[in-house]
């Protein structure tokens, strides 16, 4: 999170360092945004790799498809359930 590239390093209530886009959404929606609502390629890969290291895939071969893509889908579903949402809006930010 280099501030010269990302602007403000925004911090959520539950202590995640995020891009300033989350700060813009939170402030203008007037709604607290938590870590489940923020996803980066790195965070997805880190979780999948750590899970593999902890035998979470029971020694199976871990690949981008389906394991990374499933992790992305699971996270979206989790957010939807938690917020009892009718739909989930996914905003992709490329810096």
């Amino acid at each position: 999170m280099n501030p010269t590239e990302h602007g403000e390093v925004f911090v959520t209530n539950d202590g995640l360092e995020t891009d300033q886009d989350i700060g813009n959404y939170e402030r203008f929606l007037d709604q607290d945004i938590l870590r489940d609502n923020y996803m980066t390629t790195g965070s997805v890969y880190q979780m999948v790799i750590n899970r593999e290291r902890n035998l979470g895939y029971k020694g199976k071969c871990v690949e981008i498809i389906p394991h990374i893509t499933d992790e992305v889908k699971d996270r979206l579903m989790k957010v939807a359930k938690k917020n009892k949402a009718d739909f989930v809006l996914v905003v992709m930010v490329c810096n």
Binding site: E8, V11, N13, E17, R27, D30
Partner: protein
């Protein structure tokens, strides 16, 4: 808040070599130092997402300007830091008029400082801007603008 504390220590308390260990690790008067919970992390170079992060409770001093502006005794604010006011210097700073207006009740950390002799002098360890919103500006920013417009 950290640099304001150093300035106060140097020019009001007479600790001319006061500093933060972030800038001068060997300072004789480390009025700002690494938080206890961070020492090991820095040693191990565990520097990613490992600061004191997110919402923490803060108890406000009943006579402080902060208490007046917030209108409540207990607040929650968001943090992002590894360094803090060194509690070993707290008495010395307070004796010369620095008001510790907010502390973290669990860890006894200085979260807000004030200079009551000024119209508005508040320094915070947390980031009030994280909770300021277009239609509900943060009480400290509102208080600052109000103080600036007062004749």
């Amino acid at each position: 808040m950290q640099l304001a504390t150093i300035e106060f220590a140097r020019n009001i308390c007479g600790l001319t070599d006061a500093h933060t260990t972030e800038i001068n690790p060997k300072t004789a008067k480390p009025v700002i130092c690494t938080m206890a919970e961070q020492v090991e992390k820095i040693k191990e170079k565990d520097m990613g997402g490992s600061m004191r992060l997110g919402a923490c409770d803060c108890k406000l001093h009943s006579e402080s300007l902060s208490r007046k502006l917030y209108g409540t005794d207990k607040i929650s604010e968001r943090h992002r830091h590894r360094y803090e006011v060194n509690n070993n210097f707290r008495k010395q700073l307070e004796a010369k008029g620095l008001l510790v207006a907010g502390i973290n009740p669990k860890q006894n950390l200085v979260e807000i400082i004030e200079l009551p002799k000024h119209k508005f002098f508040i320094g915070t360890q947390f980031h009030p801007e994280f909770k300021s919103r277009p239609l509900s500006p943060h009480p400290l920013f509102k208080g600052f603008i109000q103080a600036a417009t007062r004749k």
